[in-house]
Symmetry: D3
Subunit: 135 residues, 6 copies
Amino acid sequence: MFRVTVRDHVMVAHSLRGEVFGPAQRLHGATYVVDATFAGERLDDDGIVVDIGRATTVLHEVLADLNYRNLDDEAALAATNTTTEMLARWIADRLADRVGAGDLGAAARDLAGLTVTLHESHVAWASYERPLSPT
Amino acid sequence: MFRVTVRDHVMVAHSLRGEVFGPAQRLHGATYVVDATFAGERLDDDGIVVDIGRATTVLHEVLADLNYRNLDDEAALAATNTTTEMLARWIADRLADRVGAGDLGAAARDLAGLTVTLHESHVAWASYERPLSPT
Amino acid sequence: MFRVTVRDHVMVAHSLRGEVFGPAQRLHGATYVVDATFAGERLDDDGIVVDIGRATTVLHEVLADLNYRNLDDEAALAATNTTTEMLARWIADRLADRVGAGDLGAAARDLAGLTVTLHESHVAWASYERPLSPT
Amino acid sequence: MFRVTVRDHVMVAHSLRGEVFGPAQRLHGATYVVDATFAGERLDDDGIVVDIGRATTVLHEVLADLNYRNLDDEAALAATNTTTEMLARWIADRLADRVGAGDLGAAARDLAGLTVTLHESHVAWASYERPLSPT
Amino acid sequence: MFRVTVRDHVMVAHSLRGEVFGPAQRLHGATYVVDATFAGERLDDDGIVVDIGRATTVLHEVLADLNYRNLDDEAALAATNTTTEMLARWIADRLADRVGAGDLGAAARDLAGLTVTLHESHVAWASYERPLSPT
Amino acid sequence: MFRVTVRDHVMVAHSLRGEVFGPAQRLHGATYVVDATFAGERLDDDGIVVDIGRATTVLHEVLADLNYRNLDDEAALAATNTTTEMLARWIADRLADRVGAGDLGAAARDLAGLTVTLHESHVAWASYERPLSPT
């Protein structure tokens, strides 16, 4: 299996709902350093599993919808308790949509799956790994 | 699959038994930067795979039994050649016990597995990955 | 010159005032990974420039006043545009007060200065370096 | 599953063939920080999955064939478009040959697989994971 | 003293002239992860030492002149043995020119100096620190 | 000012003398990731401040005298409370001796100073900076 990862980041405010979160129920914020990993069994004729330039661009575009925002006020996340796990899945699903729409190019057609990892500090991170359907 | 990782560290002395270890057969020591990764297919009603606060606390407690010690003198490790691999498994098994005892909370009941990684330097690390039984 | 650094982090919401900040004028947030560096010309009789345990504790206490908060609502920061530079100075000045109050112990009496560095992402950080007066 | 990883690096010039690579079609270069991960279900009698000293030596030897070279001029890579993915596989296959030849020692006989990760910058990396046949 | 650092990277081919460089006299390459640090005694009215957005853009523009190139063929570097130290100075001097030209904005007028650090691998890096004249 | 840094590591056992050290008075251990920084105002005719290959070799040799040892039993350190600060100075002074003896080559003759940083974990490190006399 081949895997290619690109890194970007996003800076957001939010609050978490549920007693389990203690002080993180207050409005606070985070920098998430975001790694998007694209996995595939085969390389295309150029010898790549995904165009790293397009992957970088698409990840940046997906994060732009969150960046410098208060997630508590975003309609797209109104039904979401924006834990690190939930955000990882939300970003992974947006990236999967973009792969399906052909935005990552021909090489991405054979991708088997993708993983999104959000580093919330130097001592904690979370990820969501999901399969991709051939298109 | 969702995964949450928390990081801590432990500073120990030890020696290794076996000619393969060369100079590491002498009494020496290591800082292990320890990553504990908890994996689960589903999020609980709060949107988490594990309570990151509890995970941090339990990892710290497990490491406290080793920290600032000479592992050659620890009864709990008397039968163990304390290689990085063996320590990774020992810590993973202690964490699994704590999950089983309910110390990581309700969210941890559905965990599918955990991985413990010990970084012994900037150029070498080892991990042990094991499944968890539903409780 | 000897220098000792300890690392912790803080997760906050805030907004910045001024057109120069563009989208960061909106309410957003950040994880700051915070390094506090203590500098001194001489070691004490124990061979340390500062008690690393106390330094870790005092840094954690200073950050606790900011952690999981919206800085826009904090009275102590009402007059402060909470840029990374300003926060670095604010934290450094709080640490200097604690050194002056003797909270870092006898070894800290001869400290010559301290530096606080705030990493706001993997691609940007800021620091403030200031002298300390002998006490 | 146990995994042991060792890290080294290699500095090369090369150019990539294909319009998808844009400016990287020009002769340029890269430092690849290379992680070789060895995975096995069982530990040997010494309590290791692989001799970390031998793993470090063999990885260094494999990289020595590439280091400080223009890959466009290397006969061994003449048929290879030297993308990060392709180089990861090339290195992994060389390491697999060395495992098969017994160069990683008795402990390596039961290895189940290996993964080679090439970090081309702080924001992009690629890996190739392959199984190993018991010898 | 306040300091702000932004990070980017550049991927180049080159060779070094001089027996001291051994195999690095051959055409090879490097990824340089580049940190540009801007230092100033005072903050401007916005509370910044430099506009981090502009600093990021200007660093990227300076590196674009080198990126994906063979430095041996660049007229601007014809007289330069492109060691890591020399490249750090070359980049720092270009950045100083841009500060002087006002491209980093009003806040940058009071900068006291800047430092450019080039990381050539995980185990080696070099930097050049220079003063800036008030403009 | 130019600065060149090379990184290596050392794994040792030791205990610390003094109540301030709490549990670190027990025999324990550490991995120190060691950065040696060489600073000079001028480059030599080859365009370097120090031969990075020689710097790497000499640092490795200095650390070899400590590696895989119990520092409590080392005659050379019998009078030393082996705190991170003290070890940083000890290593820096050994490196200064080697510069004085000409072991870092002609380029090192004009070095102005050196700094040794010991990272004892991901959250704590210490350094010692000292001048060098022209030879």
